[in-house]
């Protein structure tokens, strides 16, 4: 996260420009089967192996709504503090394309299942509310593959009919950094809810990015361009920076922005016009006569509300209170459900402060280094708790623990096993330590005299000697106590 707290503005030749961004996030619903058919939604199957007669639009085939997807959409709506509409309608969005078998996409147009809501972002300079305009259900299209053959296009319909939620934000975002935080927060909420896995590599989360600019201080929105189907946060940020700059340059040279749909070229890092407003599709939306309007029982909404898990914002509050974390620490620990679960597993039977420091320090560093997620870490929460235990019970010192962790993160071995096999246990037998210390005092009579005459700083020398002689295994606390007694 950027530490910058200054307002994000584009520096033009004739002044500063504010960037206004709205996102339409397409989130694939976590569900075993598609929105209107029983076909599997499993990722990575052979092309065209998860396609039913409905998905491929054979004559006389009819869509039947997957009730689970409705529940998922309601759940997500509740997670966004949004209004659930008890009446909503499925519409047909008509256009021709080879990977759209029906010749229309079933979507929701005038009456979406979820209305206005909000997401709270934690930004370096405080929190900010981003409005949600709506959430609606729709089918995904298939996939056209143009690069397998010079003269033919291949079509894979495995995705055809997969359930998506389109989550439309209000134009409340003001910088690429805010977009980053927004998408991560939205993804985190959906992952907590189990309604979307948020896996961007697999296409479970994509966004259309609406960008416009206006002179700083203006209240009227500028003309926007829509950058279609951007599939990573980094690309969204790059596309916004490029697009904002492009619009500023156009406006400053006296030209107008034409409302259009653009594509982001990830190789050239630029946006390109896809189609202008004049050439925009006329989708001829109308209510799908094959589907009745969706009437949602208020009791169902209440039932789902009661079943909601603790969400990031609530969890953050609790973490701050329960584990004495600051807001920044709590934010990081709740950002992903897997992280917060891990933390709570560890902290259950361990020292709070040690748990926090070890997870946010060494563990995160190891995850970054290996570029893996916390659930893939060889150091499981259970093993991490064991490691912390050995520290608090004095089996090893904090320093030795770092050594042990280095091995754990590679092998995933239990800390006890490593400590035993390497003989890393601390020496905590007072008699044994006394022997070592007596010898040190005997061997360094001069230094003892100096210490006793007032040079307090020399105390460290004796501790160092004790550690050295013990091969670093002496229990530092005990060494301190014994030394203090003997040097009195």
């Amino acid at each position: 996260m950027s530490k910058e707290t200054k307002k994000y503005l584009v520096e033009g030749e004739k002044g500063q420009w504010e960037v206004v961004i709205g996102l339409e996030v397409h989130a694939q619903i976590t569900s075993k089967s598609k929105l209107f058919s029983g076909s599997s939604t499993k990722f990575g199957a052979e092309p065209n192996t998860q396609v039913s007669l409905v998905d491929s639009a054979f004559p006389g085939m009819l869509p039947v709504i997957n009730e689970f997807c409705i529940h998922q959409a309601i759940k997500t709506g509740l997670g966004l503090n949004a209004k659930i509409n008890t009446y909503s309608v499925f519409d047909r969005k008509n256009y021709f394309y080879a990977d759209l078998p029906q010749g229309y996409q079933i979507s929701q147009y005038k009456n979406p299942i979820v209305g206005e809501g909000e997401i709270i972002l934690d930004l370096p300079n405080g929190s900010k509310k981003i409005g949600i305009e709506r959430l609606h259900l729709e089918q995904d299209a298939g996939k056209s593959i143009h690069d397998l053959d010079l003269s033919n296009t291949f079509v894979d319909l495995n995705r055809s009919g997969v359930a998506l939620m389109e989550i439309v934000s209000k134009p409340d975002l003001r910088s690429p950094d805010e977009v980053n935080v927004y998408v991560k927060k939205l993804r985190s909420i959906m992952r907590y809810l189990g309604t979307c896995d948020g896996n961007m590599q697999e296409g479970s989360l994509r966004a259309d990015v609406n960008v416009s600019v206006r002179k700083e201080g203006d209240t009227k929105l500028g003309t926007r361009c829509e950058i279609k189907n951007v599939n990573s946060i980094k690309f969204m940020q790059m596309a916004i920076s490029y697009e904002a700059q492009r619009q500023v340059e156009l406006l400053e040279s006296g030209k107008k922005i034409s409302q259009e749909t653009r594509l982001f070229d990830t190789k050239k890092n630029e946006t390109r016009s896809m189609r202008s407003k004049e050439n925009a599709h006329d989708y001829r939306y109308f209510p799908d006569p094959d589907l009745l309007p969706l009437n949602i029982d208020k009791n169902l909404i209440e039932k789902i509300k009661k079943s909601l898990p603790e969400l990031p914002d609530q969890k953050k509050e609790r973490f701050i209170n329960e584990y004495s974390l600051n807001s920044y620490e709590a934010n990081i620990l709740v950002s992903e459900k897997e992280i917060s679960d891990y933390f709570e597993e560890v902290v259950k039977n361990s020292d709070k402060k040690l748990a926090k420091n070890w997870i946010m320090g060494d563990l995160f560093a190891s995850l970054n280094e290996k570029n893996i997620s916390i659930s893939e870490s060889p150091v499981t929460s259970n093993k991490m708790a064991q490691l912390i235990d050995t520290i608090s019970s004095g089996v090893i010192s904090g320093r030795t623990a770092k050594e042990v962790f280095e091995i754990m993160k590679e092998t995933g071995d239990e800390p006890k096993k490593i400590i035993e096999s390497k003989g890393l246990q601390q020496k905590s037998d007072p008699k044994e330590l006394e022997k070592i210390i007596d010898k040190i005092i005997l061997d360094n009579k001069d230094t003892v005299a100096q210490y006793k005459s007032g040079k307090d700083k020399l105390f460290g020398f004796f501790v160092g000697q004790a550690m050295k002689v013990s091969g670093g295994k002496a229990n530092p606390q005990l060494v301190n106590e014994i030394l203090k007694q003997k040097l009195k």
Partner: protein, 488 residues
């Protein structure tokens, strides 16, 4: 035994159950009629060979407790039949062989019936004379140069000519009732949602409804019993208990109130239609029913409303026929768009193209409110008219069509005059209510004329009872000289 093929379905079923005839013998007699027909062109696909095998199999271990034991049935070629080509009367599906069976035909087969053949119809059920079929005109057995009506023209013709003991059609704006009226047969459009639409090539989803076409009202009750039922694969299917229409059929209609809507007396209506209507009133009165004048004040808007709603839905429903997945694909064109254009230009006939164009237009941005949205509002008003009338009456009596069967080519180049043919049948589809057409007299040319009885939603039993009573009193008999057979 006298010609079995001329008997009613009910009589045939009785004979089979009493083991007085075998299914093979029965099937042979229809196959003979099919083979003798050289002119009607009512069949697109002849399944005689398979039907004979099924009949022989039935005879080996006859299951007599079913509703349609060992009965061969030819069906409109809009019902998808597993392994048997299903064309919808279009070049687009000339070679399309479904891998699935429509719910309705499946219901028939589960009751002991089997497929005799696929019957000609207007292309995608769009037409009122069966002249839009890619597979050519169908003739009406009543006279050599007349149309059988449409879109279920092949069904009506085959039934009237004893090429099938009963049949099924689909009715979007009158496509069962108008051809029934033109051929002197009985046709029922059930309440929207009573018969599953799954596996029927869609024309206009909110209006399409499958129904029986039979020689008698009793047959009609039996067929509806076999066809109707909840289907979870059709989201618009009504979940209700099955009814025993044939067992509960009664001609006792004493005390029922029958409404006569003044708006159905249209300008220029032939005198014989008026006479027919008067006669119907008299018969009902004689049967102990009470005749009440009613008003359905928005009737005049029904046809224009229908010709917005139906094409709008059709334009979207037919988008799937794009040459990508199945069906006809043009060999011309250098890219996707050209392939679409050529496929759809060559694959669809003129009437289908006309309706796609109208439908696309009325859904276009800028026209949607003025056409589609307004039509939806008017549709609701038309439904309200019926709802209010049904507070006063049990059923409504009207003529089924404004004329008797017209000549081949007479209206082919005048779509408006062709559309006017559906003026009495269309309001029923817009309201989603049931209606039956029964033969009730003849005109000066001795061409049959039908009366229409309209009922409350799901009130098919009462409708059938009234029709049964009228049928008994009228005692309509049609004798055809079988001019279409080569040996005549």
């Amino acid at each position: 035994m006298s010609d079995i093929s001329k008997k009613s379905l009910t009589e045939i079923v009785k004979l089979i159950k009493k083991k007085e005839i075998k299914s093979e013998e029965l099937t042979q007699s229809f196959i003979k009629n099919i083979n003798n027909d050289k002119k009607l062109n009512s069949f697109i696909t002849n399944c005689s060979e398979n039907a004979l095998k099924k009949a022989q199999n039935f005879d080996k271990s006859p299951k007599l407790e079913t509703l349609l034991p060992g009965i061969p049935i030819a069906v409109k070629d809009l019902f998808c039949t597993k392994g048997v080509r299903t064309t919808a009367g279009s070049k687009m599906l000339e070679n399309f062989i479904p891998s699935y069976e429509s719910t309705i035909t499946n219901n028939l087969w589960n009751e002991g019936a089997f497929l005799l053949g696929k019957l000609n119809c207007d292309e995608y059920a769009m037409g009122s004379s069966n002249e839009t079929s890619y597979f050519g005109n169908v003739l009406n057995p009543i006279a050599e140069n007349t149309v059988p009506g449409g879109s279920s023209g092949g069904s009506a013709s085959a039934l009237a000519a004893d090429l099938t003991p009963t049949t099924i059609g689909t009715d979007t704006g009158g496509s069962i009732r108008q051809p029934a009226s033109f051929t002197g047969t009985v046709g029922l459009k059930p309440t929207y949602g009573l018969c599953s639409r799954w596996g029927i090539v869609a024309f206009a989803s909110s209006l399409d409804q499958a129904g029986p076409m039979t020689k008698t009202v009793q047959d009609c009750a039996l067929m509806l019993e076999a066809m109707a039922g909840f289907d979870k694969k059709d989201s618009t299917s009504i979940n209700k208990k099955k009814e025993n229409y044939s067992k509960n059929l009664t001609e006792n209609i004493k005390g029922l109130k029958i409404g006569i809507p003044k708006e159905y007396r249209v300008d220029g209506m032939p005198k014989e239609i008026d006479r027919l209507w008067e006669n119907g009133k008299k018969i009902l009165k004689d049967s102990g029913a009470e005749i009440i004048d009613i008003s359905l004040s928005n009737t005049k808007y029904a046809l224009p409303t229908y010709y917005i709603v139906a094409p709008a839905e059709a334009s979207s429903n037919l988008a799937r026929y794009d040459g990508v997945k199945y069906g006809f694909r043009s060999t011309k064109g250098n890219n996707l768009i050209e392939m679409y254009e050529n496929t759809r230009s060559e694959g669809f006939g003129d009437e289908v193209k006309r309706r796609i164009l109208i439908g696309t237009y009325v859904l276009s941005s800028g026209y949607y409110d003025a056409y589609y949205l307004k039509a939806q509002k008017v549709r609701q008003m038309i439904k309200n008219d019926f709802d209010q009338s049904f507070e006063k009456v049990d059923a409504i009596l009207t003529p089924a069509t404004p004329t008797s069967a017209f000549k081949i080519g007479e209206k082919k180049d005048d779509p408006i005059s062709m559309y006017l043919n559906d003026i009495f049948t269309v309001p029923v589809n817009l309201a989603g209510i049931p209606a039956i057409s029964i033969p009730a007299g003849v005109d000066n040319n001795n061409y049959p004329l039908g009366l229409q009885l309209i009922g409350k939603p799901l009130d098919e039993q009462k409708l059938l009872n009234i029709a049964y009573a009228v049928e008994k009193k009228i005692n309509f008999k049609q004798s055809l000289n079988r001019w279409w057979e080569n040996n005549v």
